[in-house]
Symmetry: C2
Subunit: 298 residues, 2 copies
């Protein structure tokens, strides 16, 4: 039995759907159903359900976006830094292997040597480097509190997307924002993320931290071009194209920060090779975006 925490979140709901589709016994719990942030409640839940593996997909991301975390600091700190440590304590007390959905947003740009960030690189977008959003600070602190955790995966998700229109979907965001920021990013196809992370457990790959992004990186304008390409394809086939025709870009990061954002955003390129090295494949990023757009569900 697999226990999923954060049942109603964007990632947690996907986990539940995935496990259901594969007919793997699971229980997905929301905080509204049971306050698992209390250690004693979580330990009791684990004792009651006896999971062979636990997935922590709960976290605080801010609505409508990460700027909200600058206001709801208590919830952000509790959800992203304290709570992972609570799950760790509960899993260690009950000897339960588990995985934590972390984030690549603890990095900015590329490494100093120009290469993508590897799992062991120290976060450069965190409280410690004093340049990050409050959200990124708490996610990095959350990983710190998992240092030395045994029987634990830390899976770094980055800007989830897939073929389903949703305010949390990166593609939806690009289509809805009036103006876009040009930036280079590694990103994660959400369904592939869920599959790849669960594969970590099924294949019993070594515990530890994994960047779970689709291989490669894209500029915002690359994604926009893929959207335009799909619109053209559909028109050529005489089909309706539900995507916008025009996209506007901020002139600079400075203009973006001045006009649109309250807190710095993480844009970063991550190294996917550790996951590949343990035999888990994800689709190259451009292909994954094309597929999502081709199968778009409004």
């Amino acid at each position: 039995m697999i226990l999923v925490l954060g049942a109603t979140g964007y990632v947690g709901a996907k986990y539940a759907a995935y496990l259901g589709r594969r007919e793997i016994p699971f229980r997905a719990v929301s905080r509204a159903e049971l306050d698992y942030t209390r250690l004693e409640n979580l330990i009791q839940l684990i004792k009651d359900t006896q999971p062979e593996f636990l997935v922590n997909a709960a976290g605080y991301t801010g609505k409508p976006n990460v700027d909200a975390c600058e206001i709801y600091k208590r919830e952000t700190l509790e959800g992203n830094a304290v709570f992972p440590a609570t799950v760790r304590a509960a899993c260690e007390a009950t000897d339960t292997p588990w995985g934590h959905v972390s984030s690549g947003c603890i990095y900015s740009g590329r490494r100093d040597d120009g290469l993508p960030f590897k799992e062991e690189d120290t976060p450069n977008f965190s409280f410690r480097t004093n340049n990050s959003s409050f959200y990124s600070g708490t996610k990095a602190l959350g990983e710190e509190l998992l240092e030395g955790a045994e029987n634990c995966y830390i899976w770094r998700l980055r800007i989830p997307f897939n073929n389903e229109n949703n305010p949390r979907n990166y593609l939806t965001k690009l289509m809805k924002y009036s103006t876009l920021l040009e930036a280079e990013n590694s990103i994660s196809q959400l369904d592939e993320f869920v599959e790849a992370t669960f594969e970590c457990w099924e294949k019993k790959v070594p515990f530890g931290t994994y960047n779970v992004t689709n291989p490669g990186a894209v500029m915002t304008s690359d994604v926009v071009n893929l959207i335009k390409e799909e619109t053209d394809r559909r028109k050529n086939e005489g089909l309706d194209a539900p995507f916008p025709d025009e996209f506007n870009f901020f002139e600079s990061l400075e203009q973006f920060m001045e006009i649109a954002a309250k807190t710095p955003r993480s844009n970063c390129v991550m190294d996917h090779s550790k996951l590949t090295s343990v035999g888990i494949q994800m689709t190259p990023v451009e292909e994954a975006i094309r597929t999502a757009l081709r199968n778009w569900v409004d």
Copy 2:
């Protein structure tokens, strides 16, 4: 009615004793009695007790010392960063004025210009500066989460001491440690701290942050000399002197860190003048130490 959170702690217990002595109606609550870390419980407690003022003396300091906070990171982060924000949320929801016992340990040394740290100086011993103990990091983060809080005092305590032998008492520590670290510090006589902070409320001085240390600063060796002076005085009067005769010092901070400490300590000098400027007096530090030693209770 005054509501005190953290009734069984070193500071909270002093608050209860102080208010009791003055026959001011109060209720001092421990977490064991009621889990006030849950926002809904705390709001209910405030609604039930209708305090005119609330004191948060709860926090996580680590036993036997701050090194323990490097192990109990979850408790440290929850107690010192999340919990003050929970108290803030509860006090704002119920329109209750309150005071938070913070710490001067978010600073190290003196300001770059050689002067003591003022209330508005940015902490230089925190997660943000990436040089601190985990404890100090969480205390500084706790203050961040109180930014913009109205009807709130932030009182910075520094190395409490008084005339009562206690493992938390700075004087007890100096007498018990086999080897001492020479360092310059501002420190707080605990009874005076309690009195001065409560005076903030009684005198309705402006809300905000106050360094609540005895005026001045002392080197460790100054305090040792005061202990020796008191021993001599007692011997001259034919009295027993309960203090050690010999004190050893580490050769350097490097030696101290190598041999005795797992995490960096805050040693710092704080500016007391804001508290004085609102008409609240504390005894000059050397005099306060002399008085504590003269009235020592084992």
